[in-house]
Every structure is written in structure tokens, then in C-alpha cells.
Amino acid sequence: MEVIISSKPLIAMLCALTGAVLVSLSGRNPNIRESWSVAAAACMFAVIGSMVPEVMVGNVFKYQVFDILPGLSLTFRSDAFSMIFAFVASFLWIVTAFYSMGYMRSLEEHAQTRFNTCFALSLFGAIGVAFADNLFTLYLFYEVVSICTYPLVAHHQDEEGYSGARKYIVYLTTTAKGLLLPAMILIYVLTGSLDFADNIHTGIFPADVSSGLVIILFICCIIGFAKNGIMPVHNWLPGAMVAPTPVSALLHAVAVVKVGVFSTTRVMLYVFGTDQMGALGLGTATLYLASFTIIMASIIALTKDNLKARLAYSTVSQLSYIILGVAMLTPSGIDGGLVHIANHAFSKITLFFCAGAIYVATHKKNISEMSGLGKTMPWTFTAFGIASLSMIGAPPVAGFVTKWKLLVGAMEMPAHSIAILLVLLSSTLLNAAYFAPVTYKAFLGKRPEGEPYEGIKEAPLSMVIPLMIAAVISVIIGIWPDFIMTFVNLVSK
């Protein structure tokens, strides 16, 4: 491993920040405004892409911006772990930029300038989290994401929007201030530094720190990163579904929730380390918490008729796969968890894109009203079907790679194998039970009484093309997972 001192991680973030400023200044001309969004996304993707070759051979980019206190600095690092998230998020930003253009214009939404500005700022925060080299930097950008997504969730400015957004910000800031902040300060007091370790095994705690304290800190971190949607702090996620669909798509499939799980796993592996987690039984405890979330959220999803609500609970459940995988502490388990950051991103964004396309085309939100729509909206529902397969974990779509790795990981575990295998199997069945009927009824069901076929056609191309792209990529990374797996293997090796 070689450390390359380079400002590239910072430049990638500045692309998003500059984009946000330019977008906010060009509100008068929607075309110029949207092209700034796309340009910023493309620039960011290009800068991140330019780091890929070095990172793929195991090198790490580092850049210190501010040295604040001893052991406390604003520093960025781009390693294999951050690349999993950064590469996927920056790519999907481009896709979403086109999609949201179609969505927001079709529905003639208000305050599009504010919307696009906050969108870019949220990406700025998300990439900041991906490239954080220490807990302080991570915390800073984690909070930036919380603040900048508030206007997006409250976008409609109606009672529902405000109450959803209030719940959102209350959950996220309370957990961050109440649990993360003290945990971070205590870690600083105990170790004199907030820098992440450079491997996933050792952690950063000196040997003489009492294990009781480490356990408390661990709990604070797992629950404190409430964006990871783990129960009991998951409730903000369904509440935030009042946001416009592109927000749900990007933020709740890619940026926000992934910031949560990315931070959680980053801290699990690079602050606590697999050795200490294993020795204190923290891995096992987390396994069961994640398992509980997976099963419960799936069961709740079954009961939801609103498509976005069902997707929201599916997200809660799928996010815990990532934490579950890492908590197995076996190489395959960690692989499976981390690769799911990318797999879930592509598949879930497809599903949200489809939900948005259906809404734009038909103004329908409930699954029961969507039967028979497959005939008139074949592309959308095909994409939905493909992404559903990925969620279920069926070959040859991306989710299969996750499931495979997780199953192998579970079998590698010295204990608790059977229990976790059962969780994985039963959750697969549950996933199938709540996803399969949507596509099935769309293609084979009839329109409900009084609902005509006439006048329904596919959403605009600027929406259908992005959702097809996302669906196709889900298949591609299911068949050729090597690209993402290279990064994942670098982390777990």
C-alpha cells in the first residue's frame, strides 16, 4: 500500500459544492441551471474515476485540509472502501440529474432551484463522508447531509411534508448529537486521536481501555448513525417518503441511507476493528440486531399498499444486510455486506425511479391500483421486475452476489451459523412475497374496475432511460461483479 498525497478527493467534493453555487445563481434559466447539475455530476464522476486505477492496486489518496487540534484534523482519504460508495454515488448522481429533470418538469414542481441546489449540497456531504479520513471529518459531513436534505424532504411545504421533515431532522440530529458526539469525544479522550486505522482488524483503541467502555461506545455508534435505518431508529425513513421521488431515489437509496451504513461499517471496521469486535462479542450482538431489523422491516413492508412506503421498509431491511454482513466478521461476510452498498444502490434506485415514473404517468401511489399497468408501461415494469429480482437475491441480478457472499460468510462463522442462515433464507422468502406481486399483477392482472387503460403511456424518455440504465447495470454487476469486488476484496483481505 502506498499513500499518495493528492487533493483529488477534495476536488471531487468541490465539484459538487461549486455545482450547488452555480445552480443557485442560475435559477432564472432552468436549462442552464440543470446543465450545471449535470456538469457538476459529470466532473465529480470524472475526478473520482481518475483515482480508480491507483486505488485498484491498493494505493490510498490522502489530503489534509486543516490541522485543527492535535489528533483532530479535516483530512480526506480515498481508499478501496471509500471508492465502493463514492464511485457508485457519483455515477448515480448523473443518472438522477436527468431523471429529476424529467420528473420535476413533468409535475411542474415549485422551487426547483432550491431543490437542485440542495441536491448538489447533499452529494457534497455524501462524498465527504465517503472520503473522510477520521471520525471528525465523517461527523462533519454526516451532519452536512442531515441539514442539506431537510429542504428536500420538506419540499412540498404542506402539512405532510413539514411533519415528515420534522421527524426526519429530529431523529437524525438527536441521535447524532446525543450518541455520536459523546462517543466521538470519548474516543478522542481515550486515544488522543480520531484518525481511522489503516486496516480493518486492529481498531484504534489501546489495550488498556476498559471493555465496558468500548461496548458503550460501540452501541452509541451503531444507534448514533441513525441514517443506517437500524431498528429502533428507523422510523424517520418511511416518514421522509413524503419527498419528491427523485429525492427518495437518490437520497434514500443512495446518498442518505448509504451515508448511514457506510459510516456505521467504516466505524465498525476502522475504529473498533474486527479483532476487538470479535473478542467482546460485539459482532454477534450486532448480528442479532440486524437480523431483527431485516425480518421485522420485511414483515411491515408486506402490509404496506403504498408503493413508496413498501420500498422504504424494504430499504430498512436491505440496509441491515450490509451491517449483518460486516458483523459476521468473516471475509466473505464482509465482502457480501460491502458489495451490497453498490448492489442495493443500483437496484433500489431503479425501483424508486419506477415508482416515480408510474406516478408521473398515472398519479397512482398504491400497489393495488397498479395491476394491469404492465401492458401500457412495459419498460418501467420490466425494470421494476429486474430490480425486484435483485432485492430478492435471484441470479443473474446484482443482489444474488450479495446473497451468495452472505450465505458463504454465514457458513464460515464459528458459531451462530444456523440462526443467521435461517434469517437469510426467511428474509429472501419475505422479499419475494412483497416484491413479486407488484410485477406479477402489473403484467398479468387486470385494471381495477372503473380504471381505464386509455390515456396511460410511459413516462417521458428522460425518466425511462435513466431507470432502464440503472436496471441494466443491476444485471451487469450481477453477471460481472469483478469491478466492485476488486475494491471489496482490497478491504477485507
Binding site: 479535516l74 441539514i147 413539514y162 420534522r166 440530529t173 446525543g178 459523546p182
Partner: protein, 509 residues
């Protein structure tokens, strides 16, 4: 006098700093036109700020001794001297005071319409006396300037205040006067217990006072300073004074006058009565926690923006006293930094409230709901200052709060954990205020025709915004100057700490 490093930089720079605003104030009476008076005052305050800047660059951060010192006989028969000097604790406070005053003049430009000359004179007068407080090294002179800050502030609230200005100004005056009287008693008691008798503050430190004597002196000092800070439960004068005071008054009150209380703890209580400080520290820590939580909850319940910020000050100052009384380097340096941070951030927030009040003539949150749509520049500033106030990472208060809490965790984990809800509450009341102002609800009052900030207002806020991020990302220039003084102060206290008797042993013979 080996604790003084005599001034060799110009003729008595500290005296000049005090005399500039004073002299400038008297010149005001020879200027007839109001507009010119404003420009003159602005010029004087800016000049004072510029003259004060070299203090930072010439300051020697390697020593805890009092620098730029001046020592002259004043009333030799009573052992009263005119001694000035600043160390790492007071340097930043002096600089903050001189920086804030031009902003106070700017924010009063259109706000004050009656008796402009008197108002400006009082501003300059209070600047001179506040600087005196942070520079004085002789107790008699200190007491004179300490009291001298009271009268201009009393008049600022009493003449240019809101509807209940008389009630507020008298409450403010009585409270702080009560504290000051206690301090006077303590000063005289100290004078007679030093050998040879002296009013020199540095000479009073490190004397071998008896435990009981220290306790009484500490209690007297504590009352004076706790009222000034204000610590819970001595805070009730603060919201009244803030709500009624004109914007400039609120800014001075929050940013500088409150700091005189915490400065007092650092300058007098700890070095002069170290044993009593250690004995009483647990109580002060819990009072700080009470202030943090009480201030937070009360701020959450306010609908008047000024009251909200006033109560938030109670909480924030609780963090400062918490940092002071954990008696470790990181906590104490954090506390001193937080004093500066609070001055910057809360000062800026009061400026922001004043700006909105000038436009809508109300400070009620629900009447100002939804102004974000009409005043985007204003709410951008307000957002950054509010984030700073809730200790958002990357802003100045985060660093202060982080250091204070780190100090507290290193000392007693329980106390630190009890302060954490205060941090959550700060986020809650600040975000609530922001949400109301920027977004409001579904039926906001109409604000059509509301104008955004003008150039003067932007110039007023910009320096503070720069400082918010400067300290947030690069606090080292600010922390470096205080290392030596803080280390010396802790040595004075911690030398005692191991040998200090517990409170029970002292009061139960």
C-alpha cells in the same frame, strides 16, 4: 514586580486603547450633525480595533507573565496603583471587545433615532471601561472600571430599550450591583490579609490564606461573578435585560459583559483562592449542568427570538463554567475559546434579530415565519450563525464545546454525560427557530415588500461569519496564545488540589 513585562511598544499601548474611545466620546460633544457623529464614532472604534491588533502580533505566547504592562502610582497612601497588563487569558477578550464595537455602531445606524449623541457617547464609554476590566491588575482600578460598565449599560437599556425598559434596567442594575458589593467586601478583606497590604491582583495570588478565609472570599467572588455570567439560578436578570435592550446593548451584554463573569473566575477565584475553588468545584460543575439544561429547555419554549437567544446564552455560558471547573488544560482552553466563540456567535445572532426587528417590528417567531423566501441573504447568514450556536462541526462553537466536553469526560464521565442533552437541546431550539423563520408553516403571514440586507448590514455580519469558520477550522492561532497562561493557572490550582480538604471537613470542624 517580576510578573510584569513592561511595555516597550509605543507609549503605553493599553492606556491608549482605553483612552481612545474615552477621548473620542468627549469629542462627540463638539460635533453637531448626527450623521457625522456616527461616522466619527465608527472611526474611533475602528481606530481602536486597529491599534489593538498589534497586541496579538507582539504578544509573547511563551510566558504567562502580564505583558505590555504599565505600573504607575495612583493613590500611594492607600497602596493603590494604576497597573495594567494582559496575559493569554485576557488578550483575546480585549481583541474581541475592540472588534465588536465598530459592529455595534454599524448596527445602530438606523436603529437609534433619539439622542444619538448620548447613545454613541455611552457606547464609547462602555468600550473604555470594558477594556479596563480585562486589563486591570490592581483591584481598586478593576473595581472602578467594573462598576463603570454598569452605568452605561443601565442607561442603554433604560433610555433606548423596549416597553419594559425601566423594569429591565433596574433589575439588571440591582442584580449586578448586589454582586459587585460582595466583591468589594472580598477585595477589602483580601487587602487586610496580605502582607504587606496590597491591592495588586498578581501579588494576591499564591498567598497562604487560611481555608476558612478562602471559602468566604470565594463565596463573595462567586456571587459577583455568577450573577454576571449568569449561572443558574442567578440568571433571571438576563432575559429581561436582553429583550428590552437595543441591539447594540444586547450585543455588548452578551458578547462582552457576560465574559467578565467567567473572566473573574479565571483571574480571581482560581489563583487567589485555589483551595476553595477546588473544594467548591463539584458544586459549580453541577450548577453548570443545571444552567446548560435549564437554558436549553427554556430556550426551546420561547416564541420571542431575543428571549430564545438570551436563554441559549445561559446554556452556553454553562458550558464555559463547566470547562473552567474541570481543572484540566483542554477543558480550560476550550472554555476560554468558547468565551470568544459565544461573543462572536451570540453577538451575531443578536445583530440578526435586530435586523429583522427593524423590518417587521416584531421578534415573535410566528409573526416572522417564512421570511426566508423574501430575504435569502439574511437567512443564509442566520443559518450559519445558528449552526455555529448549536455547535455544528466546522464552526467555532464546535471546537469550544468539543474541548470542554473532552475536558469534562477526562475529569468525570458522569458530568460530561449530563451535559450532552444540552447539546441536543441547542440543536433543537436553534433548528426550530431556523425552521420557523425560513419556512414557517402552511399559512405564513404575508411579508411582501420585505427588503433583504443592505450593504451596511452585510458588512456588519461578514467579519463575524469569517471568524466562525476561521476558529472552526483553524483554532490554533487562538489557542496558542493561551497555553502558557492556562498552564500556569492550572499549576496554581492543581498544586493545591491534592492537599485540599473536602468541603465536609472544612465546614464541620
Amino acid at each position: 514586580m517580576d510578573f510584569l513585562i513592561m511595555n516597550d511598544y509605543g507609549p503605553g499601548i493599553l492606556s491608549i486603547l482605553m483612552l481612545l474611545p474615552l477621548a473620542g466620546g468627549f469629542v462627540l460633544f463638539f460635533i453637531s450633525e448626527e450623521e457625522r457623529q456616527k461616522y466619527w464614532t465608527l472611526g474611533v472604534t475602528i481606530l481602536t480595533a486597529v491599534v489593538s491588533l498589534p497586541l496579538y502580533f507582539k504578544f509573547d505566547p511563551t510566558t504567562h507573565k502580564y505583558q505590555f504592562a504599565e505600573h504607575h502610582a495612583w493613590i500611594p497612601s492607600l497602596n493603590v496603583y494604576y497597573t495594567l497588563g494582559i496575559d493569554g487569558i485576557s488578550l483575546l477578550l480585549v481583541l474581541m471587545t475592540t472588534l465588536l464595537m465598530p459592529l455595534c455602531v454599524l448596527c445602530s445606524w438606523n436603529y437609534i433615532k433619539t439622542r444619538v449623541r448620548t447613545f454613541l457617547f455611552l457606547l464609547l464609554l462602555i468600550e473604555a471601561s470594558m477594556l479596563g476590566v480585562f486589563m486591570a491588575l490592581d483591584f481598586v482600578f478593576f473595581y472602578v472600571v467594573w462598576e463603570a460598565t454598569l452605568i452605561p449599560m443601565f442607561l442603554l437599556i433604560g433610555i433606548w430599550g423596549g416597553d419594559r425598559k425601566i423594569y429591565a434596567s433596574i433589575k439588571f442594575f440591582l442584580y449586578t450591583l448586589a454582586g459587585s458589593v460582595m466583591m468589594l467586601v472580598a477585595i477589602i478583606a483580601l487587602y487586610f490579609n496580605t502582607d504587606p497590604h496590597t491591592f495588586s491582583i498578581p501579588l494576591m495570588m499564591g498567598q497562604d490564606y487560611s481555608s476558612t478565609f478562602q471559602m468566604w472570599v470565594f463565596i463573595a467572588f462567586f456571587l459577583a461573578f455568577a450573577i454576571k455570567v449568569p449561572m443558574f439560578p442567578f440568571h433571571t436578570w438576563l432575559p429581561a435585560a436582553h429583550v428590552q435592550a437595543p441591539t447594540a446593548g444586547s450585543v455588548i451584554l452578551a458578547s462582552v459583559l457576560l465574559k467578565m463573569g467567567t473572566y473573574g473566575f479565571l483571574r480571581f477565584c482560581m489563583p487567589i483562592t485555589p483551595e476553595a475553588s477546588v473544594t467548591f468545584a463539584p458544586f459549580l460543575l453541577w450548577l453548570s449542568i443545571a444552567g446548560i439544561l435549564y437554558g436549553g429547555f427554556t430556550a426551546l419554549a420561547q416564541s420571542d427570538m431575543k428571549k430564545l437567544i438570551a436563554y441559549s446564552s445561559v446554556g452556553h455560558m454553562g458550558f464555559v463554567t463547566l470547562g473552567i471547573f474541570v481543572f484540566n488544560t483542554i477543558g480550560m482552553e476550550g472554555a476560554i475559546l468558547q468565551m470568544i466563540n459565544h461573543g462572536i456567535t451570540t453577538g451575531a445572532l443578536f445583530l440578526c434579530v435586530g435586523m429583522i426587528y427593524e423590518r417587521t417590528h416584531t421578534r415573535e417567531l410566528h409573526l416572522n415565519a417564512g421570511i426566508g423566501k423574501y430575504m435569502p441573504v439574511y437567512v443564509t447568514f442566520l443559518t450559519f450563525f445558528s449552526l455555529s450556536s448549536l455547535a455544528f462541526p466546522g464552526t467555532n462553537s464546535f471546537i469550544g464545546e468539543f474541548m470542554i466536553l473532552a475536558g469534562a469526560f477526562a475529569d468525570t464521565k458522569l458530568i460530561a454525560a449530563c451535559a450532552i442533552p444540552g447539546a441536543i437541546l441547542a440543536a433543537a431550539y436553534m433548528l426550530r427557530m431556523l425552521q420557523k423563520l425560513i419556512w414557517g408553516g402552511t399559512n405564513n403571514p404575508s411579508h411582501i415588500g420585505l427588503s433583504d440586507l443592505n450593504a451596511r448590514e452585510i458588512i456588519t455580519l461578514t467579519p463575524l461569519l469569517l471568524l466562525v469558520f476561521w476558529i472552526g477550522f483553524g483554532p490554533k492561532p487562538f489557542l496558542n496564545v493561551m497555553h502558557a497562561s492556562v498552564a500556569n493557572l492550572l499549576e496554581q490550582v492543581n498544586g493545591i488540589q491534592s492537599g485540599a480538604a473536602s468541603l465536609a471537613q472544612v465546614i464541620l470542624p
